[in-house]
């Protein structure tokens, strides 16, 4: 529950600062200033990330379960999540970095064979799947002063906020139905924390990066690695499917 308060707090603080930044837009000599164009560069307000995560839902970590149903069906092989994140760099803190809200939508799926209850032959050919669509809303803090002021092409960042996953358990016939008639789909709330490091590809070819900015408005292009803690264990829910994951994330991002 403590982490939930961290998530709430991060989002609330970001919202407050974003509002302040919007109001202080006219007087950019204050403590905070909104993003604005640098000399010779197009305006920079947003960032978009294409993300690939090594995603292993922590279903079996639910303390109310006696057994490991997820591992029994899907095994321990690596699963992947494909996601998109969109960040608004609402506030620029001079000589430090940017702060703003970000949203993300992802998709991951695990599929296995639903074995016969009697283990007889012929073997079952029916499949069973768990499909998860993780969503989150986070405050994103990027420390880009190293790159902007010191020309070191690394940007460390951190994210904190709230997550929610829509999920669906299915089999060959469609959405699974439990023994009591409960439909195998729902949503789980939780918290979202992450920290990572971006590497600017602009240092490899600054001229091309400048041309890209002039032609498309993309200021910076990064590759990044991130460690993400998606603790989706059901904040405020009496029953929740634990579908969060502590994951390494890799991807490509664009600032524009």
């Amino acid at each position: 529950m403590k982490s939930a308060w961290i998530g709430f707090g991060a989002i609330a603080l970001t919202g407050l600062l974003s509002a302040f930044g919007a109001d202080a837009r006219a007087s950019d000599d204050g403590a905070f200033e909104i993003a604005r164009p640098d000399a010779g560069r197009s305006p920079q307000n947003f960032e978009m990330e294409v993300r690939v995560a090594l995603y292993n839902p922590q279903v079996d970590s639910d303390p109310t379960l006696h057994g490991t149903p997820y591992a029994a069906v899907f095994g321990s092989s690596q699963r992947y999540e494909l996601a998109m994140e969109f960040d608004w760099q609402a506030i620029r803190i001079p000589h430090l970095g940017t702060l703003g809200p970000g949203v993300s939508v992802g998709y991951t799926n695990a599929t296995g064979i639903a074995q016969r209850t009697d283990n007889g032959l012929p073997a079952s050919q029916e499949t069973t799947s768990l499909t998860i669509m993780p969503l989150y809303l986070v405050a994103v803090f990027r420390v880009d002063t190293f790159m902007r002021d010191l020309h070191v092409p690394f940007v460390p960042y951190a994210k904190a906020g709230l997550g929610e996953a829509l999920w669906r358990a299915s089999n060959t016939a469609g959405t699974s139905v439990g023994p009591t008639g409960t439909l195998g789909e729902g949503h789980t709330f939780g918290t979202q924390l992450a920290a990572g490091l971006q590497f600017s590809l602009g240092v490899i070819d600054p001229h091309s990066a400048q041309q890209l900015d002039e032609s498309t408005g993309i200021n910076n292009t990064y590759i990044f690695a991130e460690f993400m803690m998606s603790d989706l264990t059901g904040i405020g829910q009496s029953h929740a499917l634990y579908v969060g994951s502590n994951s390494l994330v890799f991807g490509l991002s664009f600032e524009f």
Binding site: T64, L65, P69, V103, T128, A173, P179, L183, Q237, A240
Partner: protein
């Protein structure tokens, strides 16, 4: 000068208008002044009852196969003995007693005498005996059997002879063939006069075979049909048939026991239903034995039958009380397309039918060639469909413990259903899917995306989604302000 030019222009315009919009008869008269001519056709499809032609307002009008065009002719149409009814508009009717109306079918212009003169060289064949026309419009009927009768032969008859239903089996290769019906007048020597009216048709009487054997995968309340890939471009999909049909299982669950030595009781299985781990259900719904059986199969205690045959305990019996391999009884509805015929036409134009041949492909799989086309099983047995690229079709809403005979047939663009594949038998069985194991492990989540799952969680609300929307709205508003 201007007035004269206007007059000439007006006259030319009027003449052009008159020519363009004048009735067909008038135009025909300008091109053929001394012979009758077929000026127009209105095609329609009607049912031909045995040995007679129905009237145009017959209640069975347009019994054409659903989903195909009126000028598409498929096996079902041929097999149903349908006819095309044409309304012909005849010009110069006063001369018609001198000339004969001809209707021929072929792949080239049948009005040309050379194309219909001798059996050896003819590429057309007659659809009626030439007649003198005495009315306008003139109604004429053409039998589909006559149209297809010579479509797949190398030589062609030049005198009309009504074809029989066997010609519907005449196509041995798959694929559509373009056949045109020609309407025209000739003199007594067969020389054409007047206009020629063509009516194009697409004829396809054969869908492809299933190229190899199908197999069945099992699941809970379902079977998965594995279909071998096809190389036949004529195949546009698959029909899957089940016997007994899903949702129509009226059979009795039976457990085979050995009767004579134990007085009809199998000690290991009687009378506790919980010890029964398999069941056999009558696959033939029309069986008299079925009508008296328990319809509540799922909850009923399986009936212990006495096979009186000295079989070992636990041997599964079919509906006839006979031990059957795998617990399946053969289907009288789904019969593999193994017994086929091939059409062979001799020099005299007589078509005979020979048994289908079996060929083996490079992979060693035996394929049927020229198997007989049959009308598909009744629609009630259709339990699944797939596209041409489908390698699997899921048969849902079946029952665990019931044995189903399953067959697959290829379907082509004109709705023909090919010969049935092999007919494997399968039994849906209970499985452990993730959700079931999760619940058995004590998990209690779920209930739907909109379910209320705890205090503080409003029903029907995806809270984060609302927050995200609000965030995006805020971004847009801010951008606009800038």
């Amino acid at each position: 000068m201007r007035a004269r030019f206007s007059l000439v222009f007006a006259f030319a315009f009027a003449a052009a208008w008159a020519f363009a919009f004048a009735p067909g008869e008038a135009r025909a008269q300008t091109t053929t002044s001394s012979a009758p001519s077929v000026a127009g056709i209105n095609g329609a499809v009607q049912r031909l009852e045995p040995d007679r032609v129905t009237s145009a307002d017959n209640s069975n009008e347009n019994p054409h196969s659903s989903g195909v065009l009126v000028n598409d002719l498929n096996f079902e149409d041929c097999q149903a003995n349908l006819v095309y009814g044409f309304d012909l508009a005849i010009s110069n009717l006063s001369y018609a007693s001198t000339y004969l109306l001809n209707i021929w079918a072929g792949t080239q212009d049948c009005s040309q005498l050379a194309n219909r003169q001798t059996e050896a060289t003819a590429v057309c064949w007659p659809l009626i005996t030439p007649v003198i026309v005495n009315s306008n419009p003139y109604n004429v009927y053409v039998r589909m059997e006559d149209i297809v009768s010579q479509a797949f032969t190398t030589s062609h008859i030049v005198s009309y002879a009504a074809a029989t239903q066997e010609v519907c089996q005449g196509q041995t290769a798959t694929g559509a063939t373009a056949i045109t019906v020609y309407f025209f007048f000739t003199d007594a020597q067969g020389n054409p006069y007047g206009n020629v009216q063509p009516y194009p048709l697409t004829v396809d009487l054969r869908a492809g075979d299933v190229q190899g054997n199908i197999s069945l995968g099992v699941g809970q309340d379902l079977l998965i049909v594995n279909i071998p890939p096809t190389s036949d471009p004529d195949t546009q999909g698959w029909n899957v048939y089940c016997d007994p049909p899903p949702g129509n299982v009226s059979g009795v669950a039976t457990v085979a026991v050995d009767a004579p030595t134990n007085n009809g009781q199998c000690p290991a299985q009687v009378p506790d239903s919980s010890s029964v781990d398999s069941a056999v259900v009558d696959a033939n719904d029309d069986s008299s034995a079925d009508s008296s059986v328990d319809s509540s199969f799922d909850s009923a205690v399986p009936t212990i039958l006495d096979d009186a045959g000295g079989n070992a305990c636990g041997v599964k019996l079919n509906d006839a009380g006979i031990p059957a391999p795998g617990g399946c009884s053969s289907s009288s509805v789904l019969v593999p397309g193994t017994a086929g015929v091939t059409a062979v036409t001799d020099e005299a134009g007589v078509t005979t039918y020979e048994e289908a041949s079996t060929i083996t492909d490079e992979a060693g799989t035996q394929l049927l060639s020229g198997g007989a086309m049959k009308l598909p099983p009744p629609s009630q047995y259709l339990c699944g469909q797939g596209g041409p690229a489908s390698s699997q079709v899921n048969l849902l809403n079946l029952r665990d413990g019931v044995y189903y005979n399953v067959a697959v047939a290829a379907v082509d663009a004109l709705g023909n259903v090919g010969p049935l594949s092999n007919v494997p038998c399968g039994e849906p069985v209970p499985v452990n899917d993730f959700w079931k194991l999760y619940y058995e492990a004590g998990g209690r989540a779920g209930g739907g995306f909109c379910s209320a799952e705890g205090a503080g969680t409003p029903a029907g609300t995806s809270g984060l989604g609302a927050l995200m929307i609000a965030s995006i709205v805020a971004m847009v508003r801010r951008r606009r302000r800038k």
